[in-house]
């Protein structure tokens, strides 16, 4: 652990009635880093996000974010500390318009009193305008989010994530169900976000991960199998065995 790290997961163990979803997982993230996390089904990728965001409490171990322990904090408190999450299938508010969805994400402070008696600040409106341009939804601002296409929903959720201005963005399968073109645009978008933000991307899509051009952590059976660039992990024998599949002799 060192001071430049934004996030440290220390010996995280999560046990669901005896089944170890995560087993002594250790992972460190530097500020501004873009990190891809891959792994076969059941490797614990989503549980890993659940632990950071407070949805699941680890049986053992600690999560240190900006020097503070996140274990035992409520989800909304963790979100306010600066951890944002995009879900696997797009989770947006379908009965609200694109603009209203983004309002929910950019609004601060997130207290009932602020929401009920103050109107939205100008800089927040500007931020919404900026975000809809980035994700190409300018024409859809007043449409119900439920009427968007799958790709547009994914992008709206990414825009909502960015609008929250989190220090750490956790992005779960952002390109599931997207066209190749949309996948490329998403990769570029995520790359452009890193540097200023710290981004963790979870995905299966190898082409997409390659395009991110970042460090990769491979999870298997609840623990980190290997870390390094795409080239390194592709040559790693353990990874080939469990994930990429042994080339046929």
């Amino acid at each position: 652990m060192n001071n430049k790290d934004l996030l440290n997961l220390i010996d995280i163990t999560v046990s669901f009635e005896g089944f170890l979803a995560l087993n002594k997982l250790n992972l460190n993230l530097k500020k501004g880093e873009l990190r891809a996390v891959i792994g076969p089904n059941g490797a614990g990728k989503t549980t890993f996000l659940d632990v950071i965001t407070g949805k699941v409490k680890p049986t053992k171990g600690d999560v240190i974010f900006k020097g503070k322990s996140l274990v035992g904090r409520k989800e909304h408190k963790i979100a306010r500390l600066g951890v944002g999450r995009k879900f696997q299938s797009p989770r947006i508010f379908e009965n609200l318009t694109v603009k209203e969805n983004l309002e929910i994400s950019v609004t601060t402070p997130k207290s009932p009193l602020n929401l009920i008696n103050k109107s939205i600040k100008d800089e927040q409106l500007n931020e919404i305008e900026r975000l809809v341009k980035i994700v190409n939804l300018s024409q859809k601002v007043d449409s119900k989010a439920g009427s968007l296409s799958h790709g547009q929903k994914q992008w709206l959720e990414i825009a909502m994530l960015v609008g929250q201005k989190p220090d750490l963005m956790l992005v779960d399968e952002p390109v599931a169900g997207l066209t190749d073109e949309e996948t490329d645009l998403t990769a570029d978008l995520l790359k452009s976000l890193s540097g200023e933000n710290t981004v963790v991307v979870i995905d299966h899509d190898m082409e997409f991960i390659r395009r991110l051009d970042s460090n990769v952590s491979v999870l298997n059976q609840g623990t980190v199998l290997c870390e390094g660039t795409m080239e390194t992990i592709q040559k790693d024998k353990k990874v080939i065995d469990v994930y990429l599949g042994r080339p046929e002799d």
Partner: protein, 376 residues
């Protein structure tokens, strides 16, 4: 909820309001006393329906226990009226106490000597009780059908408690208000009932505007967000417990006002206000009128209750079947309620079915805004 809300011309809206206000002012002279009194009662019920719409239609909390807060408001009003009209009775306390040999006024009646205290108690006490119940339930993340069962169980607890306390609040007999005096006038008198009708009409409109204000902006959007995907709201940094407690408390306060107005116009408050079917009926009014429309809740409460009294006069004992049928019809054919159906695509679909209107050939959004179509 509806994709394309109907926008009325300003002139139409203005004339609607003028007619409405004229009717409210003139109603006491137009309607016979009996009908006026019924209308006043049903209007007061529409206030509790607005509360149900806020918590159920917007926030997704199906409470089957709104009768608790309704009755609490009614009891607050009735206790004040009983105590101010008790000067000629033994010990200067309400008459019923003598039946049970109670000679000293129970301590919690004392503050109700004050009209100012009562004025606030009518809505603050139910709101606080609702807030407390709500907070405990929401904090433990109890939702969905478990929340409904819990509210119904609380209703039964309150019902049994009030029903059994003869020495404190006259138990199952309840507290009568029609023979009490308010500012020197008999509450049950025609003049007084006329005033109550006007107060009720004004408060219904006030409750409607208040509820519209609550759901208008980002606060209302968060409520909808909680209804549709609560964990997502949580991960965005909002505390749903707080929002749900606040809106449940508001609905409780509205129920209290509603109960007080209903009590003074029906002449009695009793534990019957806390029976299970009555609280379920409140939900039916909103379901039929239209969830998440507010106006639908008001219209649903007034029209269903009016229908109930008309049907009961003509065909006694048939109302339960009609009400049940109505509920089934709405759940199966009009899940958005009558107003939700009108505001949505309902009328257009109906006209199309009879060939009176051209069918749309592509996606509705493309048909309506062709300009946007080429943007993809």
């Amino acid at each position: 909820m509806s994709p394309n809300k109907i926008k009325f011309d300003k002139k139409i809206v203005l004339s609607f309001w003028i007619i409405l206000i004229a009717f409210i002012i003139a109603a006491p002279t137009l309607l016979p006393v009996f009908r006026l009194n019924l209308l006043g009662r049903y209007l007061s019920l529409s206030i509790v329906a607005v509360g149900v719409d806020l918590i159920w239609g917007y926030t997704g909390l199906l409470s089957l226990g709104q009768g608790i807060f309704f009755a609490l408001g009614g009891y607050c009003a009735a206790m004040y009226l009983q105590i101010t009209s008790s000067s000629e009775f033994p010990n200067n306390i309400p008459e019923f106490f003598a039946l049970y040999g109670v000679e000293k006024l129970p301590f919690f009646w004392e503050p109700f000597r004050s009209p100012v205290f009562t004025f606030f108690a009518i809505w603050i006490i139910p709101a606080l009780v609702a807030g407390l119940i709500g907070f405990l339930v929401f904090r433990n993340r109890i939702k969905g059908v478990y929340f409904s069962i819990l509210t119904q169980a609380s209703l039964l607890v309150f019902f049994n408690f009030f029903n059994g306390q003869q020495k404190l609040i006259n138990g199952t007999n309840g507290l009568k208000t029609d023979v009490t005096q308010l500012f020197g006038l008999m509450v049950g008198s025609e003049a007084m009932q006329r005033v109550f009708f006007w107060i009720t009409a004004v408060l219904v409109i006030a409750a409607w505007f208040f509820a519209k204000w609550v759901v208008k902006g980002r606060f209302g959007n968060i409520l909808i967000g909680i209804r549709d995907d609560e964990p997502r709201v949580r991960f965005t940094g909002y505390n749903p417990v707080l929002f749900k407690t606040i809106i449940f408390s508001i609905a409780g306060g509205l129920a209290g006002i509603s109960g007080a107005l209903y009590t003074v116009q029906s002449g009695i408050v009793s534990p019957q206000f806390m029976t299970v079917p009555f609280s379920i009926e409140m939900v039916i009014w909103v379901a039929v009128g239209g969830r998440g429309t507010l106006l639908g809740a008001i219209l649903g409460a007034v029209f269903i209750n009016y229908a109930k009294s008309l049907v009961s006069e003509a065909l006694p004992a048939s109302w339960m079947f009609i009400q049940g049928g109505l509920f089934i019809l709405v759940v199966t054919a009009l899940p958005e309620g009558v107003l939700g159906w009108i505001q949505g695509d309902g009328p257009r679909n109906l006209l199309q079915r009879f060939g009176l209107k051209r069918k749309i050939e592509t996606y509705p959004s493309l048909e309506v805004n062709n300009k946007e179509g080429n943007n993809e």
